[in-house]
């Protein structure tokens, strides 16, 4: 149900971004970028106490309605280099919050797996990890 999944590095460039080919990629990229602002805003509001991932799951960032796409961006921020992962969910299937959380958890786990790989330099684009790709694909094709 995710239409677009992106992993953004602290420096606000995407480490990984993928969207379903049907839609306008550029539009998604733009949305992801703008949602970063919302993420920053929320983080600053929450303060520094929250390092736990559960609390770092920001939930619905910003709903927009465009055409038939109900965009929900959810960000998860890590301590340290802030990485925001945003997914844009699509429309009619109003995803359960729980499912979304699970999705993000999976995403986060895959991300940590990639990080664990000593051959991965932080700050590189995540292009080498097939497991990560597969996971993202599974999330994107989930409820097509």
């Amino acid at each position: 149900m995710a239409v677009c999944i992106a992993v953004i590095a602290k420096e606000n460039y995407p480490l990984y971004i993928r969207s379903t080919p049907t839609e306008n990629k550029l539009k998604f990229h733009y949305m992801v970028h703008t949602s970063l602002d919302v993420v920053d805003e929320k983080i600053s509001a929450m303060g520094k106490a929250l390092v736990d991932q559960r609390e770092l799951y920001l939930g619905l960032l910003y709903p927009t309605e465009d055409y038939k796409v109900y965009l929900s961006g959810q960000g998860v921020c890590q301590g340290g280099p802030t990485v925001a992962r945003c997914t844009l969910g699509s429309d009619n299937l109003k995803p359960l919050r729980r499912k979304k959380k699970e999705m993000f958890r999976k995403l986060h786990n895959s991300y940590t797996d990639v990080m664990c790989n000593p051959f991965y330099n932080p700050g590189d684009r995540i292009q080498s990890s097939r497991a990560f790709d597969n996971m993202v694909t599974s999330m994107m094709i989930q409820v097509c």
């Binding site: 940590t112 797996d113 664990c116 790989n117 000593p118 051959f119 991965y120 292009q127 080498s128 990890s129 097939r130 497991a131």
Partner: protein
């Protein structure tokens, strides 16, 4: 037929194929069967194959002579390249790639095709990946091999992409260099593969090139004796260690390309020691990165290898993981494509339950992606030694024994496995799987495990295993095992197991396991059958899993009903003959009864949960452990009383009758005891029956559901009580405040 001009590569390839098909060694005529097989492997449509055969003249002649065979092969290549099949096309199509055959047997050919078509010098160096050491005059080859590597790897090593461009390096040079190299190692013979990582890698490169050259010679001309000599001598030296590993790996990979041979393993272990002296310790990621970077593989691939081999995703490599990673690196350097999933034989040995998925995958995949190793078997009947090594190597894998895809996935770390081991009833890891394999009840076991996985939380895995273990390992103590398993599984704090045992006999009958029936028959008259008949009632929960309360309700009831059924022998005696005669009938009766029971169960969901909530543990436990379920039946009697009145009776009837028939049983005490004995016997025999396991699973599921309901009820209770507590506290606070307000006045 018009003259057929073949290039050198084609000539060699075709002659090899001819000899492959020429199993009768006539050197002239090729067996039709083999040829057809070959053509099938070419993955061409049937009519094309027929056309080819006709064109080459085989249909006319009735057999495949050498020329026909060659023509046919050429036509196959033509067809595979998409050109129309015509006799003229044989000679007119320029730069035709070699025909590709993709059946398992013919992968050698395909490998050879690719290898032949590739740089002629790279024949056999299916990979050509390895950058040759500078001083060998093969620098160009190295660069070409790099080029060929990329398209090869991407195209599954089947496309002779750039290969045709092969530099005109004369094949003779490689054999020469190889021979030099081989002579060299035979003299060296001293270094153990304990060299540090640095020096290791350059000889690694050397060895690789040597091996590739060697392979070229071997595949091209296949002088077996030198090959074997080289094979054996190279084992001794560092430079040759990797080549030996390669050859060994090739030879061993006929059935499993990813198997690690003993020598390889030893080598890997030694390398591990150089980084981490403690074999049970970890290699940190940074050290591993440094080590594997020396292999000069691209970072992308190293990253992928890491992903595959770091099984527990902890950023460090255990010995097993390291060996797997090393093996993958070696494979990659030799041109094998990296698999998508870790091959079964490379999995860390701790996890022996989750590799079945990879079994079928890997051999086919790797073989397809280019296992030059497979060339030897077919290509070299003159290399019996290599062939002979395969069976031994295959047997060394213990993982192949596990076929059963156990659905449970847990962190594959030693700690967890140890925990699981502790939880098991003293059996080692393979026990659950071997019994699973042995018993036809694999599926039910799996399902049971599945269900327990689904239902249970937390220690589900262990529970599933322990449950399966208990089921398969000890039939006699099924009851106790089930109770134990229940206690293991976090789902049922109270050993609500009584229901399961009773149902078991039922399935056995439906399966017409004559053993049970005979036993039941021989032991006593009708009581056993009564008991058995009683079992059918227990089956019901399954057909209607959605009715959580229903089946859950049933379980205790069933247990009761079971016993009561046995006790209500009078009623069931008349059925027994039928039951005895027609197991089918019994099944139907059982299902009917089950349905009835289900209906009745539905009527009293509220009763039973309440009852259960009040008296779950004690009643169930009692019922479970022994046949004296009087208490239980008494407890459930009220609930059951209102139930239906079928002869095969849902629990109520049996319960009531049981109470009543207790007296009746006085004269039939022997029956009663027999019943219990039968029950025990039946229970004992249960495990041996596949269906019984399914029953157990159902029983477990039902008990799990029941427990969950109990949990929810209790949770609700808890929340209510909490609420009350809060209210009370508030009141107390308010009262205290009032008191405080009043007191000062009093103090005044």
């Amino acid at each position: 037929m018009e003259g057929l001009t073949l290039s050198d590569a084609e000539q060699k390839y075709y002659s090899d194929l001819f000899s492959y098909c020429d199993i009768e060694s006539t050197k002239k005529v090729v067996v039709n069967g083999r040829v057809l097989e070959l053509f099938r492997a070419a993955q061409l449509p049937n009519d094309v194959v027929l056309q080819i055969m006709e064109l080459c003249g085989a249909t006319r002649l009735g057999y495949f002579g050498r020329s026909q065979f060659y023509i046919a092969l050429k036509l196959v290549a033509v067809a595979q390249s998409g050109f129309p099949l015509r006799v003229e096309s044989i000679n007119t199509v320029k730069d035709l790639p070699l025909p590709r055959f993709v059946a398992s047997k013919n992968e050698q050919e395909s490998r050879h095709a690719a290898s032949y078509s590739s740089d002629s010098e790279n024949q056999g160096s299916y990979s050509g990946v390895i950058p040759p050491p500078p001083g060998r005059g093969q620098v160009k080859k190295g660069s070409v091999s790099h080029d060929t590597v990329q398209p090869r790897t991407s195209a599954d090593a089947q496309e002779p992409a750039s290969p045709v461009v092969s530099p005109q390096q004369s094949p003779p040079t490689s054999p020469h260099t190889w021979r030099k190299h081989s002579r060299h190692p035979s003299g060296g013979n001293s270094e153990r593969p304990l060299a540090g990582p640095g020096p290791f890698w350059s000889p690694f490169g050397e060895a690789q090139s040597g091996s590739s050259a060697g392979d070229a010679v071997w595949s091209g001309h296949s002088p077996p004796p030198p090959q074997e000599n080289w094979d054996q001598t190279t084992v001794r030296t560092v430079a040759s260690a990797t080549t030996a590993i390669e050859i060994r790996r090739q030879s061993s990979s006929y059935d499993d390309p990813w198997k690690i041979t003993d020598e390889q393993r030893q080598y890997y272990v030694n390398q591990f020691k150089t980084i981490q002296p403690d074999l049970n310790g970890f290699i940190p990621g940074s050290a591993a990165k440094e080590f594997f970077t020396k292999s000069k593989l691209p970072i992308l691939e190293l990253s992928h290898i890491w992903e595959l081999s770091d099984f527990d995703k902890d950023g460090a490599l255990t010995l097993d993981e390291f060996c797997a990673a090393f093996h993958l690196v070696v494979a990659r350097k030799n041109g094998y494509d990296l698999p998508e999933k870790l091959p079964e034989s490379l999995m860390p040995k701790l996890i022996d339950l989750e590799d079945s998925a990879d079994v079928g995958d890997q051999p086919g995949e790797v073989g397809y992606s280019g296992s030059p190793a497979e060339a030897p078997p077919s290509k070299s009947p003159s290399m019996p030694s290599l062939n002979q090594t395969w069976p031994e190597l295959n047997q060394s894998s213990e993982d192949t024994a596990i076929v059963h895809p156990v659905p449970i996935r847990m962190t594959p770390s030693k700690i967890h496995m140890q925990e699981m081991e502790l939880k098991r009833t003293g059996s080692d890891h393979t026990n659950p799987t071997s019994p699973l394999l042995v018993k036809p009840s694999d599926l039910s076991e799996e399902n049971k495990i599945n269900s327990s996985v689904k239902f249970a939380s937390g220690n589900t895995v262990a529970d599933g295993y322990s449950s399966s273990d208990s089921f398969t390992s000890d039939p006699e103590q099924i009851g106790s095992n089930v109770t134990r398993q229940r206690s293991h599984s976090g789902t049922s704090p109270d050993n609500t197991a009584p229901p399961p045992p009773p149902p078991r006999p039922q399935p056995s009958h439906s399966r017409s396991s004559s053993l049970d029936m005979n036993r039941t028959f021989t032991v006593t008259t009708g009581q056993q059958q009564a008991g058995v008949v009683a079992h059918p009632p227990a089956v019901p929960p399954r057909p209607q899993p959605s009715q959580a309360p229903g089946p859950a309700v049933h379980r205790p009831v069933d247990a009761d009903g079971l016993i009561t059924h046995t006790s209500t022998s009078p009623q069931q005696i008349p059925e027994q003959p039928n039951f005895a005669d027609f197991s089918q009938f019994e099944v139907f009766a059982a299902s009917n009864v089950n349905e009835e029971q289900d209906d009745e169960a539905e009527k009293h969901p509220e009763v039973l949960p309440a009852e259960k909530a009040s008296d779950p543990a004690s009643s169930l436990r009692v019922a479970k452990t022994d046949s004296k379920t009087e208490e239980k039946t008494a407890a459930s009697a009220p609930a059951n009383v209102s139930k239906g009145t079928t002869p095969l009776a849902p629990p109520p009837k049996p319960v009531r009758r049981r109470l009543k028939s207790e007296d009746e049983l006085r004269p039939e005490v022997d029956e009663h005891t027999q019943k219990t004995g039968v029950l025990a016997a039946v229970l004992a025999s249960q495990p041996s029956i596949p269906r019984s396991v399914g029953k157990d699973k159902k029983a477990i599921q039902a008990s799990i559901r029941r427990n969950k309901e109990t949990n929810t009820v209790l949770a609700r209770l808890n929340s209510e009580l909490q609420q009350q507590l809060k209210d009370v506290l508030e009141e107390r606070i308010s009262l205290e405040v009032q008191l405080e307000q009043l007191r000062p006045f009093s103090h005044l």
